[in-house]
């Protein structure tokens, strides 16, 4: 399930940017989204994030999918806030009273969370993870951490495919999950098998690295300098965020 299309179609503005500008941009957007204190500012941030998404090669159906998922995660919080926070009653269903303050808090969270997700998706999900790793390295993230990330990108999909085939094999032999010991043991075996296979894979990869003279030092390649488009993008984004802040504080 790749969210970005990584297409070869004529590059949109965002897809032409250096990974560094996109990482910095994403961090600033999310920080800004999180700091907005008024509904006006929060809605402004959502609009800004959506604007970014239209300049990126975002797959809108995936975007909706992802947003629905995130909302699902927060559902407990969103339902409980209007019920539990004290304040003027907005609407009452029998003994259940929804407070106005609680509703406003919930609304603020929904707006902030969605603005962050949309901005992250626009700037980073459309970035090939390998380039993300390289960008992080040039921004000063420790090399070991970057290598961990690059290996993770390389092997997690492999293990997910292996795992999916194992699951199918279980179903093909009539496995139906129930709430009994056999089900948990089957899942334990599945988990264990995938771990053992990753361990064996790790051993073989280490050997093949030794065969190519690996002595414990990783080479890491640098990327080119930022170009004017990148500077222009960061300036514009900075101005936009600054403007939204003014709006937020003055509104």
């Amino acid at each position: 399930m790749s969210l970005a299309r990584f297409s070869d179609t004529p590059a949109l503005l965002i897809t032409r940017l250096d990974p560094r500008s996109r990482i910095i941009g994403a961090v600033f957007c999310v920080l800004a989204a999180v700091s907005m204190t008024t509904t006006v500012g929060q809605i402004g941030m959502i609009i800004a994030a959506l604007a970014l998404a239209t300049f990126a090669d975002v797959n809108w159906r995936d975007m909706l999918h992802r947003l629905a998922h995130v909302e699902g995660f927060m559902v407990v919080l969103l339902i409980l806030l209007p019920l539990s926070v004290d304040g003027r009653t907005f609407i009452a269903f029998g003994p259940l009273a929804l407070s106005e303050t609680g509703l406003m808090r919930a609304l603020a969270i929904v707006l902030k969370v969605n603005a962050s997700v949309i901005a992250t998706m626009a700037l980073l999900a459309t970035l090939e993870p390998v380039r993300l790793g390289r960008g992080m390295a040039t921004l000063g993230v420790p090399a070991r951490l970057v290598h961990l990330l690059l290996f993770l990108v390389r092997y997690q999909s492999l293990f997910r495919e292996e795992g999916a085939r194992l699951m199918e094999a279980m179903r093909a032999r009539g496995f139906a999950p129930r709430l009994d010991m056999r089900t948990w043991r089957a899942y334990g075996n599945f988990t264990g098998m995938l771990l053992v296979r990753s361990m064996e894979r790790a051993e073989r990869v280490e050997e093949s690295m030794r065969c190519r003279g690996f002595s414990g030092k990783f080479p890491l390649r640098m990327t080119r300098a930022l170009n004017p488009t990148d500077y222009a993008f960061m300036c514009l984004l900075g101005l936009l965020i600054f403007g939204l802040f003014l709006l937020d504080r003055l509104a």
């Binding site: 995130v70 902030k112 951490l145 999950p177 075996n189």
Partner: protein
């Protein structure tokens, strides 16, 4: 809900989580040498892939947190491993967030690191059945501790979250059970098939 998204927590909590996580990740990176990176990373890939599987349970499905198992197998390397995994997850799938990365790393990896380092030596010398029991309890405890960390992260951010935090802790109880059982059977499998996997924790 161990993957707290951006926009829910307050700045002091985010900064606190970030600082603790940064120290722990730095410590973990120190513990693994350059030559251990491929092994750690590929094992971490296995755990990450596992955490993405929605295991059907009755009519619903669950994702495993795997904190306990990771702690047992990876040792202190759990911090950098969880850190990159959560970053990738936030970027690729939209679970968790960028500003909450630190808090989420602490919530998932800290219980694993503490309990894992405690039980790993016991598991190494135990029979498969005993190892399964220990690992099962450890896995369940890690889930519980994660719940106990998520709750104050919410409650400290805003008094409004207090009630929600309590409800959320309750949702961790069935998860503890499931993860305990699966973790126990998993370690019993590993113990019989490839005990070396449990020998190398830092």
């Amino acid at each position: 809900m161990a993957h707290i998204p951006d926009g829910v927590l307050s700045f002091p909590v985010l900064i606190g989580g970030g600082v603790i996580a940064a120290c722990a990740v730095a410590l973990g990176l120190k513990k693994i040498g350059d030559e251990d990176i491929p092994r750690t990373a590929i094992l971490a890939s296995g755990f990450f892939a596992l955490s993405l599987f929605a295991l059907p349970v009755g009519p619903s499905s669950v994702h495993l947190l795997l904190g306990g198992l990771m702690g047992i197998v990876l040792g202190a390397a759990i911090f950098p491993a969880v850190c990159v995994a959560l970053l990738l997850q936030a970027v690729m799938f939209g679970f968790g967030g960028l500003t909450t990365l630190g808090v989420n790393v602490v919530n998932i990896a800290l219980p694993g690191a503490l309990i894992g380092s405690l039980v790993a030596p016991m598991i190494q010398s135990a029979t498969p059945a005993r190892a399964a029991l220990i690992a099962g309890v450890a896995s369940a405890l890690c889930v519980g501790l994660t719940g106990l960390l998520v709750a104050p992260a919410l409650a400290l951010s805003s008094a409004d979250y207090m009630f929600s935090a309590r409800v959320m802790i309750a949702t961790y109880i069935p998860l503890m059970l499931i993860e305990g059982l699966v973790g126990g059977f998993c370690i019993s499998f590993v113990k019989r098939v490839k005990p070396e996997l449990l020998a190398g924790a830092a």
